[in-house]
Amino acid sequence: MKGLTSKFKAVGALMILALILSGCGEEFLSALRPQGQGASDILSLMILSIAVMMFVFVVVMVIYVFVILKFRKKKGQEDFIPEQVEGSHTLETLWTVVPIILILILAVPTVQYTFSLVDTSPQVNAEGEEEDQIWVNVTGKQYWWHFEYEGMDVTTSQEIYIPTDRRVYLSLHSEDVIHSFWVPTLQGKIDVNPTGNRNEIWIDADKEGVYWGKCAEFCGPSHSLMDFKVVAVSPGEFEQWVKDMRNIDPEETPESEVATAGQEVFANNCMSCHANGTSPNKIGPNVSNFGDRERIAGVLEYNKENLMEWIETKGEEMKPGNMMTTAAYDLSDEELDQVAEYLMSLSPSEITPENAEDNEYIESDLSDLFIDQEENEDEGSEGESEGDSEGESEEDSDSNQ
């Protein structure tokens, strides 16, 4: 019975610890307020390790305080010579063996999670079937992020959309220096390397929301400005978003006249680096759904003023060292206004970050997306003899490494 109450006490202490920690930081950013499986697994490991370590710390501190209070030199002790103790086998064995046991307790879940967090094999559902996997190829560049949805013909930058309650698998690589992909609320970070290994990891979100992502590996002057967002929407909304995104017509004329003029400015000055739609061009960020972005350049408040200033100054001050500063264009004030208007009108999908915050949940098993994918793949293999599919198959093999 006594053992049981002490167990309850231990669990209670752990829960209080968890509660204190969860008070720390913002819901969209803090690793202590997990919103997905990965981050909550890690948090439970953190709490276990903190608990074990607190035990050690308390033992040390109790002895420490006692020793300082009890054995301080007192008056009249000038000639007192303490016993010169050599050591104690019992005590020394005790504080060797107990830490070993504590570490073993910690090592078991550590190894378990070390494997499970990077396990990108398909999930098995209740019927024992392997689920179809959503794979996204992530590219990190100074100082922005690019996302290509494998087999879905969807390309976007800076904001990655994912369905809730389902793992999304990422395959990451860099085109310049080392970056690191980190969404603290959803999953631990993983490096984005320019050579060698192409890293893989999964993320998932338990509920809808816009979660902040950061670059965690030092990558240059604007390292601290290399933010991105994960927009988690319900599966039905995600399905809708994918369908809208793959049917973008970059030639489509915007509604307003200013924006139409801006479209031409864009075509003449920006298209060589920035794609609209599913073009593989990723010299600069893809602008397909620029109108729905949460932030400009990942960090600036989303408004026309900031956008125009960015385009005019090429972000020289706003994101020091960014690669757009090498672009050759020179736009008049009128053209700036037009192109900004055009970019802000780009909203090909009804699904925007607002849908991540409206609590509306639309069910879907997403199977539609994979049927299309299989068809796409069939087309791909049929057309293999044709010249222009070579690039595609090369990309496929790349991501399978």
């Binding site: 930081g25 890690i42 490991l45 002895i63 005590l91 990077v118 965690a216 390292h223």
Partner: protein
């Protein structure tokens, strides 16, 4: 050459004496001056970093300058402040503790110091020639390859030169400990600080070559068109990370083990008890050093080494906690039953125990590979390593400096001011770094020039900056104390702390030959044994005779300057081939002085028996 003789000499001759000295005690003072200068410089860089982060979206310094500041703060503090300050302690204490008259190779000892100083100066010249290195103290490729300007060239050349110096120091101490112990001073009677010096030297010997190789590859990539790390040419960027951390992880044990040694001297002295579990302390030190080479990849858990490698390195990392825990408990039980005197070195030792325990706890947490996916490269890591390096190494350095200050300068630093210094520094340290653990978990990655508003990071960053000012205030007080003590404090006796080990058996500062007659060591804590069982003085192990001592020489300084000039030539030859002339001149000076040293016999000098008899007994009065 006692203290009174130098006092009468003019400034010029004192300066010349120090420029040419091969005496380990004077080299210790040189290391102290050099190391402390860079400590202040690195501290100033840290203050600028903290001011930049006092509020969100701050624009106190530019992004580029910020990156130079963080890079130079890390590089300076590790290579140019902590290492030389520890070498200062090793130089002053270790030869005395083992009962030697000097280190095994006094010439190499001087050369090691001058190489460190020239390397540090070369590195810092970059501030004035178009920008300091900006790729972080880890200089991860390919960022360091793509970095513009010459900053990273200064990094690779400067550290290479300073690294040669450290490597020589390490080898020198190894030979000294192995061959020059006094009669009766067996390995297992050696004071713990000498043990940790010995083990740290082993680590230096095996770890620094990895850095040397890495820096050579980096130099060749940047200056001679090699492509070891350039991904577009088939280079592999992860190799640099391995090389850097195969050096870098043992390096943190090189920094912490001597600090452990200092505490293992300070705590017994001020508890009036012998070190509890001496042999397990030695064993734990050796084990930490051994495991220290097995864990470098825990800096690379997120690189993508795969779960098998990550698990192995995770468990190896956690295992280090066991010997470290043994040490903590041994210190606690050394104090148990003693009579504690709260002198300022003891305060630093007492401040160290909880601080370092927290650092060790977060170390185990970081070692849990899966959880490291969240901690890695965040302020949690910043907090962790400042808890071990400041809470461990820097506290150890201050404890050791204050403890051995009388051996270096013949005066005890003012205790009252040192108490104030301790409390300012201790409180400031926890204020600065404790909350950074939480900042990291709340989503703040490290090396962030700005953090945005509305992320809930403002308050903790503000508090952290305030804490940094406390630490700065404490350090300024310490500097004031140094000057005040030099002018106002009375001369100290040879044994002002009621010490237990051999360095307290000679006068403060000791004569330049240390021991008139080598002492006979009868057990652990030899002076304590003589105090309790004998007449309080060391018994001589040899009759009074002539003492053979090395001559002073300017060659180490000239050699180092030559290498520094050659380094500058190599950095700039990419801009203009005429710089090759400078490089060649530098190498001629370097190899020329080497040749002079090798070809010209310098047999040293003898201090004659008759002169020794005149000088009194040389022990503490």
């Amino acid at each position: 050459m006692s203290a009174t003789a130098t006092k009468k000499a003019g400034f010029g001759s004192v300066l010349w004496d120090y420029l040419t000295t091969v005496d380990h005690k004077k080299i210790a003072i040189l290391y102290l001056i050099g190391g402390f200068f860079f400590f202040i410089l690195g501290g100033l860089e840290a203050m600028l970093v903290r001011i930049q982060l006092i509020q969100p979206d701050n624009n106190f310094v530019s992004a580029q300058f910020y990156n130079e500041l963080i890079t130079m703060h890390g590089t300076t503090m590790i290579f140019l402040a902590a290492m030389p300050l520890l070498l200062a302690l090793m130089n002053i204490a270790m030869p005395l503790q083992i009962g030697a008259r000097d280190v095994a190779f006094p010439f190499v000892n001087a050369l090691g110091f001058w190489l460190f100083l020239i390397g540090g100066i070369v590195l810092n010249i970059s501030w004035f020639t178009g920008g300091a290195p900006d790729a972080g103290w880890t200089a991860y490729t390919p960022l360091s390859i793509f970095s513009e300007g010459h900053g990273l060239d200064y990094y690779s050349i400067g550290l290479q030169i300073a690294g040669f110096g450290t490597l020589m120091g390490g080898i020198n101490f190894l030979v000294t400990v192995i061959t020059m112990r006094a009669p009766g001073m067996t390995m297992m009677r050696m004071p713990l600080f000498s043990w940790t010096t010995f083990i740290a030297s082993v680590l230096i010997l095996f770890a620094f070559p990895a850095l040397t190789v890495g820096l050579f590859l980096l130099t060749f990539d940047r200056l001679f068109g090699a492509n070891f790390f350039d991904p577009s040419m088939g280079g592999n960027v992860v190799i640099w990370e391995h090389l850097f951390w195969i050096f870098g992880h043992p390096e943190v044990y090189i920094l912490i083990l001597p600090a452990f040694g200092v505490f293992s001297e300070v705590i017994p002295t001020f508890s009036k008890k012998r070190l509890f579990g001496y042999s397990s302390m030695v064993f734990a030190t050796v084990l930490i050093a051994f495991l220290g080479f097995m864990v470098w990849a825990h800096h690379m858990f997120t690189v993508g080494l795969g779960p098998i490698a990550n698990s192995i390195f995770a468990i190896a990392t956690m295992a280090i906690a066991v010997p470290t825990g043994i040490k903590i408990f041994n210190w606690l039980f050394t104090m148990w039953g003693g009579t504690l005197r709260f002198t300022s070195p003891m305060l630093f030792a007492l401040g160290f125990i909880p601080s370092f325990t927290i650092g060790g706890m977060t170390g185990v947490m970081l070692g849990a590979a899966a959880a490291d996916f969240q901690y890695h490269d965040t302020y949690f890591v910043i907090a962790h390593f400042h808890y071990v390096i400041v809470g461990g190494t820097v506290f150890g350095i201050f404890a050791g400096l204050i403890y051995w200050w009388p051996k270096m300068f013949g005066k005890v630093l003012n205790e009252k001011m040192n108490h104030w210094f301790f409390w300012l520094f201790f409180i400031g340290f926890h204020l600065t770094f404790f909350l950074q653990h939480f900042l990291g978990l709340m989503g703040m990655p490290r090396r962030y020039w700005v953090f945005l508003e509305g992320q809930g990071l403002d308050l903790f960053n503000f508090i952290s900056t305030i804490g940094a000012f406390f630490m700065a205030a404490g350090t300024i007080l310490f500097m004031y104390n140094i000057v005040w003590t030099a002018m106002k404090e009375p001369k100290a006796s040879g044994d002002p702390w009621d010490g237990r080990t051999l360095e307290w058996a000679v006068s403060s500062p000791p004569p330049h030959y240390n021991f008139k007659q080598l002492p006979l060591v009868r057990g652990l804590d030899p002076l304590w044994i003589e105090k309790t069982e004998g007449n309080g003085k060391m018994q001589p192990a040899e009759p009074l005779g002539d003492i053979h001592m090395p001559n002073n020489t300017i060659i180490p300084l000239i050699m180092s300057i030559g290498l520094g000039i050659a380094g500058m030539g190599i950095i700039y030859q990419v801009d203009n081939p005429m710089w090759w002339i400078v490089a060649v001149i530098g190498f001629i000076i370097f190899f020329g002085s080497m040749a002079v040293r090798s070809l010209k016999d310098d047999l040293g000098h003898h201090i004659h028996k008759e002169d020794l008899e005149k000088e009194g007994d040389g022990s503490n009065g």
